[in-house]
Amino acid sequence: MDHRSALERILRAIALTAIVVFFMFPIFWIVLMSLQTNETILRSPPSMSFVPTLKNYAAIISGELDSNAGTMSIHFMNNLLNSILLSVFSVALALLLGVPAAYAFARHKFRGSEDIAFTLLSFRFAPPLLVLLPLTLYFQALGLANTYLGLVWVYQLICLPLILWIVRGYFEDISPDIEHAYRIAGHGWFATFRKIALPLAGPGIAAAGLLAFIFAWNNFVFALVLASADKQPVTVGALAFVTASGIQYGQIAAAIVMSIAPTLLLALWAQRYLVEGLSLGAVKG
């Protein structure tokens, strides 16, 4: 089976190494940086020999940062909590709304179904600011300004289309015959949906949910425009970090590491689902 030459194998190994280095190096370097003091970071030329310290992480978790204008308190942990709350509730709501809709689109070709489905998907592709900027002027009147509810609603722009389209693909891949058989056995529509369709599409729903969670977590512009300091997630919080006066570089790095760690760990844990979800169900036969 293996008819590759030695040269080819070597070239392949080199290429794979280069790829891994290119894509992993930034993360590796930022982790290294987060374990150093300003002193060792600023050494020239950069060196790998240093005594790792967890001081940066301790400072961020306690929220007390040394800066060149005295100690300042930054509620980074609060940002982290916001990220969790916003992502979890956004995905939960999107699943609640999106899965039944996806089922409807997959099973019932009703009048206008394709148009509605396309409209929903097109939200995914509309420039977010087009919606966000007028929203800043509306949210106040609606009483949604600076509430988790308002943000979770807007986050549906990211989560809902994603879930709708991926889950729809999964439902379409399941033969309706099983459901028909179950219905004929005298079970109601809802029971069929719950007992047959949902479990069969389970992996797809999990993949879509995970992806939606990650996209929600990684979102920047929604919260930048709409969230106040006590509601902002880590993406916006970390930017604030870099520009706040005189913060130690190691602490910035530690903040970035803590912001990306949840999604990276999630990816490691559930990589199979993610890859499936990312292929959009498009390539499943």
């Binding site: 800043t136 300091a229 916006v236 520009t243 006066s245 005189g246």
Partner: protein
């Protein structure tokens, strides 16, 4: 108990006695400095409370929108005094400067009732005022029912006070008789040189006294020291690049941003004088500026100076102040110099930035908010901030005269007071107040970036900038 002590402290608070003699005399009465401090705070609260019903809005709460800044830290550190004094509650959101003004715009443009007062600069009120988002504070300042008798508005430096007042007419003179007081000055900054003395000595460079010398000094100090660049100035694509050192030097040559012909505004940055000045400024950055100048905000300008990566900065004096303290690598090694770019000028003409406080028109209780405003900008807090925190440069005359404050400056920041005094007479806002301020300055900064990158020759760039500005002024009905 403590009657004699209280009398002494009252005299001190009324300005009848210096702090040193107060402590000496209290010492004679057997009172330690620490308990004197407690007594002082107690008395300060009581003195504030005299003749004015500070408790009128007790039980109410207000919310502030604040920028991450040492002034903010000083205020928060002293906030309990206000709460005790008034019985009011204060909450706040603090944002870093990069996003701060966007947050203010977002809150005000949506008519948000969330924030009652916020930090601002005078320039911003040229947008907020005409947009109808902030109030004319004269209404409260002039009402003895609402403002406590010790507030002493006339104690505020006149130039600074007037710089925060504008009649709303594009091109109108700041501080004119019909002007509205859009914001209340809190702390301010002049733009001067802060330099690294050791580096200057090592390179054998004298403190520059005009633009040509500045260019030369920047190049020399860079050549004479390893791994540093000569001069730090801001360069990001933002209004903030124009207003500090750049505009201070520009104005020193008598150049202007706009001309005002009976209310018709026209761009004025393409005069011969302006072109000559721009050419020098651009050359200075090309030769001796930071390699990543085009991303530098005040934060990087300051950090590099503090870390010993640059020879000097031409920026806010208070930035030089901060970098000379704390745990900066260069703390204690920085020196200050007033700077007049034009050899023929009478003295420095620093453009100034004024961190101010303003009340939102959408606040649900402006009278209660005004209680916070007058406390935060009042003499007691200014003194507290100046003495114990980094509340420089104060906007009140009495604070500058305060012995304890002067002592602190002279001890840890030698030369600072002299620099301040030399440049203060020429200090004011050098911009023309008009609603397109941000369009003008942002485009100006973008053009500076292109000229420094040699994408466009200086002359051509300024002509283009002037054309573009004139077009926008016409479109907005200002020309």
């Amino acid at each position: 108990m403590y009657e004699k002590e209280k009398d002494l402290i009252s005299t001190f608070l009324d300005g009848g006695m210096s702090r040193r003699s107060l402590i000496r005399r209290l010492g004679a009465l057997g009172l330690t400095a620490a308990s004197a401090g407690t007594l002082h705070n107690m008395m300060a609260t009581r003195a504030l409370a005299a003749d004015f019903d500070w408790k009128k809005h007790s039980g109410k709460s207000i919310k502030l929108l604040l920028n991450k800044h040492p002034y903010t830290d000083a205020m928060i550190a002293n906030l309990d005094t206000f709460k005790q004094l008034t019985g009011m509650d204060v909450s706040y959101d603090v944002f870093p400067e990069d996003v701060y003004f966007d947050k203010v715009t977002a809150a005000l443009s949506s008519g948000s009732t969330e924030y009652d007062a916020f930090m601002t600069g005078a320039y911003m009120t040229w947008t907020y005022g005409p947009a109808g988002w902030i109030v004319d504070h004269n209404e409260w300042l002039n009402d003895p029912e609402k403002t406590n008798p010790h507030y002493n508005w006339s104690d505020m430096l006149e130039g600074v006070r007037k710089s925060c007042a504008w009649n709303g007419i594009p091109g109108g003179k700041l501080g004119s008789d019909d002007a509205k007081q859009w914001c209340i000055p809190w702390g301010y900054e002049q733009n001067n040189l802060t330099y690294n003395k050791a580096m200057f000595d090592k390179a054998g460079v004298a403190v520059p006294t005009n633009m040509d010398e500045l260019i030369e000094a920047a190049a020399k100090v860079q050549a004479g020291n390893d791994g540093i660049y000569g001069i730090g100035v801001r360069g990001s694509r933002s209004w903030a690049t124009i207003h500090p050192g750049f505009l201070s030097a520009y104005a020193n040559f008598g150049e202007m941003d706009l001309t005002n012909d009976n209310g018709k505004l026209s761009a004025a940055m393409n005069t011969d004088g302006s072109k000559a000045f721009h050419a020098k400024w651009v050359k200075m950055i090309q030769e001796s500026g930071a390699s990543d100048w085009s991303t530098h905000t005040w934060y990087q300008v300051g950090t590099d100076l503090g870390a010993g990566k640059s020879g000097m900065i031409f920026d806010a004096d208070i930035l030089g102040y901060f970098m000379n303290g704390g745990d900066n690598a260069m703390a204690g090694q920085l020196a200050y110099a007033p700077f007049a770019a034009n050899p023929d000028a009478k003295g420095p003409t620093p453009n100034i930035w004024i961190w101010s406080l303003a009340m939102s028109k959408f606040s649900k209780d402006l009278d209660a908010t005004w209680y916070f405003m007058q406390w935060a900008s009042g003499p007691e807090h200014a003194l507290f901030g100046a003495r114990k925190m980094d509340f420089v440069d104060p906007v009140r005359n009495t604070v500058w005269q305060d012995e304890m404050f002067q002592e602190k400056l002279n001890k840890s920041y030698p030369g600072y007071v002299d620099m301040y005094k030399t440049s203060a007479p020429g200090a004011s806002i050098k911009f023309t107040p008009q609603p397109l301020f941000f369009d003008l300055t942002t485009e100006w900064a973008a053009m500076l970036q292109r000229m420094v990158a040699k994408e466009i020759p200086v002359d051509e760039g300024l002509d283009q900038l002037a054309d573009s500005m004139n077009g926008q002024l016409s479109e907005a009905g200002l020309r």
